[in-house]
């Protein structure tokens, strides 16, 4: 479904991704972990060209993404949930959810709103349809952002540290929604520090360090008997 081939990315002189090769299967739940600055966010942001790789190729469903076709390809195949939610503050929740379906997917207003209410039910926030994002708590905003991503009905949803900006007490409500999603046939790529979540939903976990993929494995391999020294160190710091 997604294939990264020898991705390199520089920010100025900083070599943030080094020869990253990665393949994500359809319906797979892939979790990317690693210390901050390891390139995990950049990796996931290369999948929808929010960061264009300096070299290397990104394929979605076998089609190579370029700066020319990225808008169409992103529209057709991927959605993203951000650390800072990035809801549109000048629109009500309902407008946030129906904007892309109406303007990009040419759905009628009725269709788009029915879709929006359907996903609002899934994230448990139907009653917030007519309020503005700033009146919601962080956890609620993020659940709305997930609903917005779902409204695009793309096969792939990318999560870039979806719970890192949240109060500890609202993290679980967002994770619960993501766990619910993981039961659907959606391809999910999740950058996170939530090891409990990784353990529960990941088909495979990718560990990155210093812009490289260091280890790829199932949650079992990762948490029961990590072989890689750096991974052991990292998990030792995170899990107590």
């Amino acid at each position: 479904m997604i294939r990264l081939e020898k991705i390199n990315k520089f920010f100025g002189d900083l070599h943030v991704l080094q020869d990253v090769d990665l393949e994500v299967a359809e319906g797979e739940k892939l979790v990317i972990i690693g210390p901050s600055g390891s390139g995990k966010s950049t990796t996931v942001r290369c999948m929808n060209f929010l960061e264009e790789p300096t070299s290397g190729k990104v394929f979605i469903n076998g089609e190579e993404m370029t700066s020319k076709n990225k808008t169409r390809m992103v529209r057709e195949s991927t959605s993203m949930v951000f650390q800072q939610f990035n809801l549109y503050p000048h629109m009500t929740i309902l407008k946030n959810l129906t904007l892309a379906p109406i303007k990009l997917y040419h759905k009628s207003k009725e269709e788009a709103e029915a879709l929006a209410y359907h996903y609002l039910d899934i994230v448990g926030l139907r009653e917030k349809a007519h309020v503005y994002p700033t009146t919601l708590s962080g956890g609620q905003q993020q659940r709305i952002a997930i609903a917005r991503a779902l409204c695009a009905q793309t096969k792939i949803i990318l999560f870039d540290e979806p719970t890192s900006a949240l109060d500890p007490e609202t993290i679980q409500e967002v994770l619960d929604v993501m766990i619910k999603l993981a039961k659907e046939n959606i391809t999910m790529v999740v950058v996170t520090h939530e090891m409990g979540f990784a353990k529960e939903v990941a088909d495979r976990i990718v560990f990155m360090d210093n812009g490289k993929i260091v280890e790829v494995g199932t949650p079992n391999e990762f948490f029961k008997n990590p072989s890689n020294e750096r991974l052991k160190q990292f998990l030792g710091k995170i899990i107590r």
């Binding site: 808008t71 000048h90 708590s137």
Partner: protein, 240 residues
């Protein structure tokens, strides 16, 4: 006979009131067309300045710096005499419309650039991640948020533009100031300096004061709204 309290002088102004009305009308007409032009140029060059495309950004920069760092009167003379000597004279009012439009377009461009620059990067990314192209992103997501930031300084530019119609005097313009000047120096009408400039100034004031009041009112409500959106997420505590 030119004294401020000379009944004679005031009577003369009343008799020749059409001069002032014509001047105000010309100033208004010129300002209106120049305004449209400056909005258009401001939007185009402001968008170019924030496009992320280096060549476009440079072109916009050159336009803004050239215009902002030379006197308006020079630009007016240049346009008027260059056209006149090349045999393409377009008349004083159209010259004023074009020169004022280009001059204030540069300032509007800076206002638009600042307004777009004030929108958090996450908003651009959210729109791009949904598959909006540049135009959709600007039209649905960015500009509706920038407009509140842009409006107050833009209205100030409108006020400046109206006052700057007086520069047309240098090419013998038909604006309010020029007509006031020919009135007080005219062979048959001359002499009523004090009252004439008082009336002319009053007309400017009556047009400009409501506009600048509107601008500061907008600015204040914008500040209030900002304070509100900063406070709301902290005070409303809801758990979903």
């Amino acid at each position: 006979m030119g004294g401020l309290f000379s009944a004679d002088a005031w009577e003369k102004i009343w008799v020749f009131r059409d001069t002032f009305i014509l001047g105000l009308a010309n100033t208004g007409k010129m300002a209106a067309v120049a305004l449209l032009l400056s909005f258009l140029l401001g939007l185009i060059f402001g968008l170019m300045a924030t496009s992320g495309q280096k060549p476009l950004e440079h072109i916009s920069r050159i336009y803004v710096e050239l215009i902002q760092n030379t006197p308006l009167i020079l630009q007016l003379c240049f346009l008027y005499y260059a056209l006149a000597f090349s045999g393409n004279s377009i008349g004083i009012l159209p010259t004023g419309m074009i020169a004022l439009g280009i001059y204030h377009g540069a300032y509007m461009s800076e206002v638009v650039r600042a307004g777009i620059g004030a929108i958090p990067k996450g908003q651009f990314e959210a729109a791009a991640s949904q598959g909006f192209g540049y135009i959709g992103e600007m039209y649905y997501v960015i500009l509706p948020q920038s407009i509140k930031i842009i409006l107050p300084p833009m209205v100030n530019q409108v006020v400046n533009l109206i006052k700057n119609t007086s520069c047309l005097y240098i090419i013998g313009g038909a604006d309010l100031i020029s007509l006031t000047y020919s009135f007080v120096t005219g062979a048959s009408t001359g002499g009523a300096y004090g009252p004439a400039y008082l009336v002319s100034g009053l007309l400017f004031f009556v047009v400009c004061y409501p506009l600048s009041t509107l601008a500061s009112y907008w600015e204040n409500t914008l500040k209030l709204r900002e304070q509100k959106t900063q406070v709301v997420p902290l005070t409303i505590e809801e758990r979903g």
